[in-house]
Symmetry: none
Subunit: 191 residues, 4 copies
């Protein structure tokens, strides 16, 4: 019989890779990175342990891939038109959307906060992470500067911390978090 075409292989590869990443993300987020073994990921994905190494070099490679992909997505959301400038509307939009975005991808967001507090995991993605955070802070600072704030940098750090703090609490316990009222309260503060 004729062998599969290149494209067929590519499709298999892509879908299987996505499956592994998906199950790994779920397990990392619910059980933690270290307690999640390659075996568990394989089991959850319904494949053999060995196959995972056909797609990823190591367990580290899996989490790095997940985080890099997630951070790219995140950055796209934070500055949709990619101009490096935040308008008041973009901030309002971001605050209004962020909890929805988080809810849709709860696992990633758990992982997002998890990363900070796992020294060896943080080290794996530190560079990309710090770049992203710095870029966000700079954009917020510039925004507050153009809005005429007294101390735009402090304000940017404060807003950053507030968003992280609320995001964190939301992700930890989404059912009992008063999303709408928190949204309004933050928007009232800044817009």
């Amino acid at each position: 019989m004729a062998p599969r075409t290149e494209q067929q292989f590519e499709e298999i590869r892509e879908s299987k890779k996505a499956l592994i990443l998906d199950k790994a993300l779920e397990l990392f987020a619910t059980e933690g990175y270290y307690p999640t073994s390659i075996s568990k990921i394989a089991e959850k994905a319904g494949i053999s342990k060995g196959l995972i190494y056909n797609y990823f070099e190591s367990k580290e490679d899996i989490i790095i891939t997940i985080i890099h992909k997630g951070l790219d997505d995140l950055f796209r959301i934070f500055d949709p038109n990619k101009d490096g400038v935040l308008t008041k509307d973009e901030i309002r939009f971001f605050i209004e959307q962020m909890f929805d975005i988080m809810r849709k991808d709860l696992h990633f967001w758990k992982l997002y906060f998890m990363i900070f507090m796992q020294p060896p995991v943080l080290k794996l993605v530190e560079k990309k992470f710090m770049e992203l955070i710095q870029a966000s802070l700079n954009m917020l600072t510039n925004h507050f500067m153009s809005e005429g704030y007294d101390d735009p940098q402090t304000e940017a750090i404060l807003l950053g911390a507030l968003l992280d703090g609320t995001g964190f609490h939301y992700v930890m316990n989404p059912e009992n978090f008063p999303v709408e009222r928190i949204k309004e309260r933050i928007i009232k503060m800044y817009c």
Copy 2:
């Protein structure tokens, strides 16, 4: 030499136990819980691996002890006169002191944030944790209610998130955090 008295033994026990907890906290905070082996703790404490099991039942027991002790301390700080009521002055005092407190015990505070994001670790101390958080939120809510806020609960959650968020960023990178300006900014908001 006279044999040691019962009390002397007890003192040795206590100081050794404290030593182990201290070194374990340091390692957990800097390297993470899972990557820190019992051997490393023993080495850092200058004792043998086996001895650790003379004082603690397991690795889990160590981290549980550390966290419980830390949470008790934390609670004492948050409500110094233990009356369950927060005055405006207590809040101002807390905000003014919290970064100093954190700086003095940076390792614990790293661990504090770490706990949330390590599901198996969180599970170990979940009950005590949730009680503390709920108690704090209730006190803040009551405070804002007595201050005549429209939506005291949302305000309490927001302040909680803000304190967590700023605390988190401070602990992550204390050198570059504008402590004084952030303090003032928060106090201006709430006092």
Copy 3:
């Protein structure tokens, strides 16, 4: 296009088989038998892993084939007219040629010496190997007997060891081996 004839298929088969054997030999000789994976052989031969199993039953089958083929070639060199009798001229010829022969096929000769020292590999080809060695020793013994040596068998064993020893050193480090002078020296001893 006209369909390939049976014979054309056969030719493709043979040339592909030879390609696999060639690349496998190279890798076995330079990297060792165990560290060489089927994947590496396939990659080096520019074919897929699976195809190798179309031509060979197993990794063992590959090395057995290589060694058997090599031993057949070797035997042809050692006794060109296949009469089972070695003349003084044939010995001189063999000594004069052996280093050239080795240089042309360095990989096989590395493998030749490697075989002895890899018990599981040796076991695979032991029978053929021992037959060859015994036959060679017998021919040498007969030769020395006809030359009137006191102890022809010892002399045969000694020459065998000398040829193995010099061959071994040559193969290990062909650049720094004084081939010509060694040749002359051995010929002076025996011819």
Copy 4:
């Protein structure tokens, strides 16, 4: 109960380490390096797999230790008074003794020849190996020079190859090797 003294621990360590090295050498020599698993070594030594890692860093560490120790012993035998100079008597003595020495330590000598032909294993000990070989060749060359040979270097290489070749055959099949007659024959050549 009082813990073991430092010396008691030292004794345990030394004897257990020797046991592991002994069993590992035996298996490496009879089964080969790669086919010998840590499990097999542990089983043969009657201990647990994990314990081996209490004494050695890795499987590589084990073979390196064995080979380095063996080479040190070998060098002591080859130049007993360690003066870097070989007399005719020392050579005669070496030739007379070498097969006895080999018989007593057959496993090591199999390993000795094995090393050359396992590229990754050779790499582990290459430096020490090459130094030893060069030193031996230099001593032999100096010897033949002082004996007035025409081409002392070639003679040294030839004797080296002869000793390796006979040693190799002896180790491969000690029962059927005419040790005494080979000894005499070599001594007749050189002394």
